[in-house]
């Protein structure tokens, strides 16, 4: 079943930069997709359009049946509740514990205390962070912080998990650990995962679908792909 459909999509920023040009792609439920490409190629822009941080300038982006381009500001929350987002810089709240950080997401969307407790503990368990629930973010390693961030993203059982360079700040070993957690979530919960990355080892090892973007154009869409540098662009 189709989860994402991007059609003739263009994104031109206010300053005139064309970040995405005539991009077409569809992603099914349950897929694990890497988005690769040189720095500034438009990976983050594509991802931001998926969760309506940016609107396409032209064309359509449909996520879980919602047309992002036509989604009104006041309705964005409906889209956001269907997906989870993980960032390179974690975005954890420093004054809250790990538990509170994850619970914060559910409180924000109005769940009651019991539901929150159950879901938070389950999410923290699935990322292997149950012993650290009372720690504050600055008491955690980078990998642990990213796991807390993943727990927050999956706590409401989203259909789609979007990750923008989740391992960008982490050591290779820790990066593998993080990607294994994502793989587990993908396999066990059937969550669709889209991950932008520069990490060639991970891409080569995982043998998943690869979308390669260069200068805003989709230049490669390959099942079980590997990390190859596009001929027309210099090495990354």
């Amino acid at each position: 079943m189709r989860l994402i459909e991007v059609k003739n999509c263009y994104k031109v920023y206010q300053n005139g930069v064309t970040a995405i040009a005539d991009l077409n792609v569809t992603i099914d439920k349950g897929e694990f997709v890497f988005i690769i490409g040189a720095s500034g190629s438009g990976k983050s822009t594509l991802i931001k359009m998926l969760y309506r941080e940016e609107k396409p300038t032209n064309g359509s982006v449909i996520v879980g049946g919602i047309n992002v381009a036509k989604l009104r500001n006041s309705k964005v929350y409906k889209l956001r509740r269907k997906l989870g987002i993980v960032f390179q810089d974690f975005k954890l709240l420093p004054k809250l514990t790990v538990y509170e950080n994850v619970a914060f997401a559910l409180e924000s969307i109005g769940l009651n205390g019991r539901e929150i407790r159950n879901k938070v503990l389950k999410a923290l368990e699935s990322v292997g962070l149950k012993e650290k629930i009372r720690s504050f973010p600055n008491q955690l390693s980078g990998g642990e912080q990213q796991r807390a961030c993943i727990a927050r993203a999956i706590v409401n059982d989203p259909k789609l998990l979007i990750c923008d360079e989740p391992t960008g700040n982490l050591d290779p070993d820790i990066s593998k650990e993080i990607v294994n957690i994502l793989k587990k979530i993908n396999e066990e919960a059937g969550t669709t995962i889209i991950m932008a990355t520069h990490d060639r080892e991970i891409v080569n090892e995982m043998q998943k679908r690869v979308l390669q973007i260069e200068n805003g154009v989709l230049v490669r869409d390959e099942q079980k792909g590997s990390y190859k540098v596009h001929e027309s662009t210099p090495n990354v």
Partner: protein, 297 residues
């Protein structure tokens, strides 16, 4: 259920925020306290002035004395004229015999003096009450035009001057209070703006995980309302105790029976109620403005 939970959480967030930004909150609360105290004084004054003015107005009449030679027809003519004039509230005809009777009842000395005279030296009169005291003079000039009028007698300016002075004072107070309300709303708005900035990360995450716009905004709106309400506590206490004390001190009236103070209860409780509501409204206006400006969603 869900709405109630949102309400509770927003309220909790906003109380936390007031406490966390204590120095800023204090500044906003102080400002709204000052504004509301001045507002309370202005409201108490103007209500009392209104009360006094309307007492005065009731006392202000035009007494028109008709010449000895005035005929029945002429009196009817005057009455018809009074019926037509727009500023006339009511009028009352009093014949010289009635005057005589009234004076007799009033004092024995006058009574015997009047008895001593062969003819009644008094005049027939019409006492006119006007609608708008400000036009008292114009109206009396108008009446004076009839040649069968002996004289026209009215407050001769004193009361009018007092009333128009009160009028000006009231207008000035409205302007000052208006300005203070704007300043307070602005200050509360500024406080909210700073809380919004200090909680930028929280707001960002709330939006990313799918909080509704209302859920994001409500804590800040509540915060403004709470600041305004806390700011109204001292003004309420000051105006209730202050007014009761002043009232007791003057035993309810100043100078004369006409210039009376409004009874403290329930008047001052209404004023206190108005202060809380105004505090809340000013806080809400200030915070809504800040939210709209700095929390573009």
């Amino acid at each position: 259920m869900k709405a109630l939970r949102m309400f509770n959480r927003s309220l909790r967030d906003s109380i936390k925020s007031v406490v966390r930004n204590l120095s800023l909150s204090t500044a906003a609360i102080t400002c709204s306290s000052i504004t509301l105290i001045i507002l309370a004084v202005a409201m108490i004054l103007s209500y009392n002035v209104k009360n006094i003015t309307s007492n005065l107005e009731k006392e202000l009449t035009i007494v028109t004395y008709i010449k000895e030679s005035g005929t029945e027809e002429q009196i009817t003519q005057l009455k018809e004229k009074l019926n037509e004039m727009p500023n006339i509230e009511k009028y009352e005809y009093k014949s010289k015999e009635e005057w005589k009777l009234e004076i007799k009842n009033f004092s024995d000395t006058y009574s015997s003096a009047l008895d001593y005279l062969e003819n009644n030296p008094l005049l027939n009169s019409i006492t006119v009450t006007v609608k708008d005291v400000k036009d008292l003079k114009i109206t009396s000039e108008e009446i004076k035009k009839f040649d069968f009028i002996e004289s026209v007698d009215y407050g001769e300016g004193m009361a009018e001057k007092l009333i128009s002075a009160f009028d000006i004072i009231e207008k000035i107070t409205i302007v000052i209070v208006g300005a203070l309300v704007v300043v307070t709303a602005f200050l509360i708005g500024n406080t909210i703006k700073l809380t919004i900035f200090s909680r930028k990360n929280e707001i960002e995450i709330m939006r990313l995980v799918g909080a509704t716009n209302i859920r994001v905004r409500l804590p800040f709106i509540f915060e403004g309302i709470i600041l305004g309400i806390i700011g109204s506590i001292i003004p309420m206490i000051v105006s209730i105790y202050g007014y009761v004390m002043i009232y007791d001190h003057f035993h309810g009236y100043i100078f004369s029976q006409i210039i009376t103070l409004v009874k403290p209860f329930n008047f001052i409780l209404y004023i206190a109620g108005i202060l809380v509501v105004l505090g809340a409204v000013i806080g809400m206006i200030g915070s809504s403005r800040a939210v709209r400006k700095y929390l573009k969603i």
